[in-house]
Amino acid sequence: MSTLTADPVPAGAYNSARRERAAADPASLVPALQELARKVRTSDIRMINRAQLGHIGGDFSVTDILATLYGAVLSVDPLDPAAPERDRFILSKGHSAGALYSTLAHCGFFPLSELNTFAQPLSALNGHPNRVKVPGVETNTGPLGHGFPVAVGHALAAKLQGSSRRTFVVMGDGELQEGSNWEAAMTASHYALENLTAVVDRNRLQQGARTEDTKQLEPLADKWAAFGFEVRTVDGHDITQLLQAFSGSTTGKPVAVIADTIKGKGVSFIEDRVEWHHKVPTAQQVEDALKELNQ
């Protein structure tokens, strides 16, 4: 087995009409998107425990962003994941593959049962995402600093084709220490890619320590603004704010969303602790985490 195919979409798991509601009445969507995020976290932590591998901290910091995008913002069709006019989403912080796989499965891109194969021999679900094997994945990520330039290429292609489709990319904040991102930021700004939204998952932790103790990123909003972006700083766990932040450029510039997040969000003993970058929860810790997530 190398390539996944989608089962029929589970009832209620994915609803393209939500995008219209997101524009008209965003508040009405919040409970459903919060529920999607809860399911994503629940499946993800079980998956990581089963595989004894994964990045639970970064997965949980980005989960609300993914749930908002896939649940209400992106124009994508799980039954036709390669439709040319789909919006594009790239998870540049590819080590958070678990959160992406769980989101894609809950949105009907492939059967939920496939999550059981995560990291198993010959599974399509590698530790980092693969576009050839997993429907919904747009480029292979893992090494940091790759997703943003590819997203810029996608946005440029849409412009050249006169298409209104949009491109979103999520980067980790530590990932911004890779210079390739700033090369891409200059290109996006130079070509006025208003169809591009760059999201920074600002959880302030990287693998080894806090970002500001490793190589400081602040003043981060000023940096993005200086590179020619329309900057929006939001609470990355507040779905109402995220919906607003993802609503598109108002200035003709590319958009940078700095999403303030908490690494490990949702489980008290994981939150904001550097060791949970890639620590694997025990069976007991999974039980404790599920109790908190299901409250």
Partner: protein, 315 residues
């Protein structure tokens, strides 16, 4: 040091590359050229003048260059991503691996002015590692045309090919080896002479030099079989094995380091299947001294005389 009796006209393959790319762009509006402030050195001025919107210049930023190329490809365009070969392959090696080859993005990577083309500019600008680096990446065909006609054919093939490719486009002038209109057949080496004493397995600029060497050696009664291996990867193993079995020895010739390039590919194949006496011509883990392209090719035994000397030794 060339020993050709009659001066033959020579050509810059970048010109053929640029002309064919423009012709393709007229036929297919998905064709885009992507470069790193190399509009002039990649010979893309004409392309820019005719298709200003389809010339994407990301500036001096090679990692961005290749990533943007991958996004354009996945977004439905056919990008020819062009830059001086040492920087395209060296600075963006991981992007080539992850964003292009592993992601199966249909990007045509165009390494311009490879080998010793930038003679006096020194080893930072000599692109001798590019063949080895690209050969180490899975699922990435490597094409090194020997002359303008083959360059045109390779450009057409790459645009139509279902997947990524790496084209190594020479700057150093070369004589025409193939007739205009020649077809590029992927996976196939081209046998240019029929000698059965020794075989020269050559690529790029070395092909015409091997032909000159064959002329000289014919007068000495040594028959040289010259194979043009423009399709370096995957290697035409049948042609190479036939060359080894049909002669008494094989010489490989490439304007590149011998660590992992064409010579290494041929040696590995023959060692496993048909151990053969060999001479591997190229640059043996050494940074070049100062000198012009011709001087350096002579210095490293990559001239016609160098091939002749290796053949006399092996004959």
């Amino acid at each position: 040091m060339t020993t050709a009796a009659v001066k033959v006209p020579t050509f810059d393959c970048r010109k053929a590359f640029a002309e064919e790319l423009i012709a393709l762009a007229r036929e297919d509006d998905r064709i885009v050229a992507v470069c790193n402030d190399s509009v002039g050195s990649s010979n893309l001025t004409g392309f820019r003048d005719e298709f200003p919107d389809r010339l994407i210049n990301v500036g001096i930023a090679e990692q961005d260059l290749v990533g943007v190329g991958a996004g354009l490809a996945n977004g439905g365009m056919i990008p020819f991503v062009s830059a001086a070969s040492p920087f395209l392959t060296g600075r963006a090696l991981e992007q080539i691996k992850a964003d292009v080859a592993y992601s199966r993005a249909k990007v045509v990577l165009c390494g311009q002015s490879p080998g010793m083309a930038y003679g006096e500019l020194g080893p930072t600008h000599h692109s001798i590692e590019d063949l080895s680096w690209m050969r180490a990446v899975a699922d990435l065909p490597i094409v090194v045309p020997a002359d303008p006609a083959q360059t045109r054919a390779a450009v057409r093939w790459a645009a139509a090919n279902d997947g990524p490719s790496f084209l190594r486009i020479g700057r150093h002038p070369v004589p025409a080896v193939h007739p205009e209109g020649t077809e590029f057949v992927p996976g196939k080496a081209i046998r240019l002479t029929d000698g059965d004493d020794l075989a020269v397995v050559a690529t790029g600029t070395m092909v015409s030099r091997a032909l000159e060497a064959a002329e000289i050696l014919r007068a000495e009664g040594i028959g040289l079989r010259v194979l043009n291996v423009a399709y370096v990867e995957p290697l035409d193993t049948d042609a190479v094995l036939q060359a080894a079995s049909g002669t008494r020895g094989v010489i490989t010739a490439e304007e590149a380091t011998t660590t992992g390039g064409l010579g290494a590919a041929v040696a590995t194949l023959l060692a496993e299947n048909a151990p053969t006496r060999m001479r591997i011509l190229g640059i043996h883990r050494e940074f070049a001294p100062t000198g012009s392209t011709d001087f350096l090719l002579d210095h490293f035994g990559l001239s016609t005389a160098g091939i002749v000397a290796a053949a006399r030794e092996l004959a």
